[in-house]
């Protein structure tokens, strides 16, 4: 019986050695674009996918969306890129899980002559240059500007007097680092604004809750919070509620998620910097299609930012 199994296996593999791979053209000869996201269990990326899908349908390209299970799993994202390249995609749009790490995967895309559009999170310029990886364009909001917007708002809203606690994203992530830099630069000028604590909560809601709860224990004087993402901000909102300090502490977040907008409308949160992920997805696919058609793209395609407060929340 064993021999028969082996025989069958050999048969299958030898049949298969005839190469059936052809360049990926979806149904009806449509070009295929891959959109590789950090994760799909975050509303930001779900919105991005929606925008990308609309653009793909409109432009008549087949869209393949893949993401790692966890946002920080850059090795899994690398595997996905390698696998997508195998299907002969004509362009790759990617939101890197790691600005430096993903460059190793993009080298393989370059070698397979797949043009790259980087979305939302920039590549590390040095790592990309060292590896000889060139992105056709970067589609995204300026996270530094967004952080600055949040900082300037806080200075104004508090009349230049605040004790601020900051919830950071995963250390070493370009997105969070830029927002943080923008925020710090904006409040630097205000002498009455002091950052009394700054801790990573790794982009997560439950960690935002725990970290802020601990922060409040150590620094009961905190009257303002800047969280580098709304999920962490919403965690902090809950921690504030648990401490019975709702309304006494201003929370400024980033991303303007639906839940955050609700919190802003109800007054438990102060403001959030809105990004437009669906817009990013749309622009990413439009750019990818332009590249496929041989058009030249600008180095950067900026997607607008907007501060959502109680006055303009919808």
């Amino acid at each position: 019986m064993n021999r028969r199994v082996l025989f069958a296996a050999v048969l299958i593999f030898s049949c298969a050695s005839c190469n059936r791979a052809a360049p990926a053209t979806g149904a009806g000869g449509k070009p295929t674009v891959a959109l590789v996201l950090k994760t799909l269990n975050h509303p930001f990326f779900v919105d991005m996918r929606r925008g990308a899908q609309e653009a793909a349908d409109r432009l008549g390209v087949t869209l393949q969306v893949q993401a790692a299970e966890r946002e920080i799993d850059v090795e899994k994202q690398m595997q996905i890129v390698e696998n997508m390249i195998q299907t002969g995609i004509q362009a790759l749009a990617i939101t890197p899980s790691g600005s430096r790490e993903i460059v190793s995967a993009l080298v393989k895309a370059r070698d397979a002559k797949v043009p790259i559009v980087v979305v939302d999170t920039r590549l590390d310029p040095k790592a990309a240059a060292d590896a000889g990886v060139h992105a056709e364009t970067f589609v995204g909001s300026d996270n530094y500007e967004g952080g600055k917007l949040a900082g300037e708002y806080l200075v104004k809203a508090t009349g230049g007097k605040a004790r601020v606690g900051i919830l950071e994203g995963i250390p070493g992530h370009e997105t969070g680092d830029s927002r943080l830099r923008g925020f710090r630069d904006a409040v630097k000028g205000a002498a009455g604004v002091a950052i009394v604590a700054s801790q990573p909560a790794n982009w997560e809601r439950d960690q935002g809750f725990n970290v802020f709860q601990n922060m409040l224990q150590a620094h009961p004087e905190i009257d303002s919070v800047f969280a580098c993402s709304d999920l962490m901000a919403l965690g902090a909102v809950e921690a504030i509620r648990a401490a019975g300090k709702t309304g006494a502490i201003r929370v400024v977040g980033f991303d303007a998620l639906d839940d955050a907008k609700k919190a802003i409308a109800s007054g438990s949160m102060e403001a959030s910097v809105a990004q437009f992920p669906a817009e990013m997805g749309r622009a990413a696919i439009e750019s990818a299609v332009k590249v496929i058609h041989g058009e030249k793209l600008p180095d950067e395609i900026k997607v607008k930012l907007e501060l959502v407060t109680r006055d303009n929340v919808k």
């Binding site: 064993n2 299958i12 791979a21 299970e69 790490e101 460059v103 190793s104």
Partner: protein
């Protein structure tokens, strides 16, 4: 005796490949198969250590954290301009020491492996975050990166490393007294002790082997990503346990093979790759992978029952 079961997993792998071959033209190409082999190598190597541990009726939940810790030690050493050989030795030593700590707590401390390695999982992760202040260390010399990007002929270096590791571990497990004791301890620890075997020593060594394997995986991972991340390797313990169990190793210990584990790791790698090629939603992928694990164990149990 367990030949029927071993072939069960091989048949599973062949069937899986055949299905993917039918469903997508991109699966059975030389470049894709090498791609799968390369992607599988890290889990396959971690799973070698896990197989040793599970064969001895233990469990090691700390492997993923050890991958991260050994990785950042490697990264810091390379950053500190240590020669490549020194950096590699430091990384491997880190893995072995972590494993030994596990092993001594389990054997001399007589503590349940689940609890010990749950604790060291957190300790090693914290240590990795602490020494790096949470930031990845990246950008290494090509002479190091070649460990992941290099090719021998057309075979990627990580695949060669995996083959060497499996050969060496297979010999250790089947041709040495240490290997025999691994099975004996898992089969009946008390009887093994009574027959005069230094059970404590060998159990400590088993966990040290697991730590070493995690460190080897860390070297490949760090070279592959060109970065040592303190948050790397999360959930690797579950992938390694899955590969071992799909490969037919009994969680009760004493029964299983490394060949089975390799096939188990390949099944998981092929599945992930195939689901990507097919463009299956990433949520559905998790369900499929979980289903395969359950079905594999179910088949295994049924075959075992038939044998009795």
């Amino acid at each position: 005796m367990n030949r029927a079961r071993r072939f069960g997993t091989v048949i599973g792998l062949v069937v899986l490949c055949a299905i993917l071959w039918i469903l997508t033209p991109y699966f059975l190409t030389v470049s894709n198969l090498l791609n799968v082999a390369e992607q599988t190598s890290i889990n396959a190597i971690v799973a070698v250590g896990m197989t040793f541990v599970i064969l001895s009726a233990g469990i090691d939940l700390s492997v993923g954290s050890i991958v991260a810790f050994a990785g950042v030690v490697l990264g810091l050493a390379l950053r500190g301009d240590q020669p490549l050989a020194v950096a590699l030795a430091l990384a491997l030593a880190t893995g072995v020491v972590c494993g030994l700590v596990n092993g001594l707590l389990v054997s001399v401390g007589d503590l349940p492996p689940f609890i010990v390695t749950l604790g060291t999982m957190s300790i090693a992760r914290g240590a990795a975050l602490l020494v790096t202040e949470g930031r990845p260390i990246s950008g290494f010399a090509p002479s190091f990166r070649v460990l992941a990007t290099g090719r021998v002929g057309f075979v990627p270096a990580p695949v060669i490393a995996t083959a060497v590791v499996y050969l060496a571990a297979h010999v250790a497990l089947t041709r040495t007294t240490f290997g025999r004791y691994v099975y004996a301890i898992g089969g009946n620890e008390e009887a093994t002790r009574l027959s005069g075997v230094a059970v404590r020593f060998h159990k400590a060594m088993i966990y040290a082997v697991s730590g070493l394997m995690s460190a080897i995986a860390a070297v490949i991972l760090t070279a592959r990503l060109n970065s040592a991340q303190p948050i790397a390797g999360m959930m690797y313990e579950l992938d390694a346990i899955a590969a071992t169990v799909i490969g037919g190793t009994s969680l009760m210990g004493g029964d299983g093979t490394l060949a089975g584990t390799l096939v188990g790791a390949l099944i998981m790698g092929v599945l992930r790759n195939g689901l990507n090629l097919l463009g299956v939603s990433s949520f559905l992928q998790q369900i499929v992978i979980g289903g395969v694990i359950v079905v594999a164990v179910l088949l295994d149990t049924m075959l075992k029952r038939n044998r009795m």
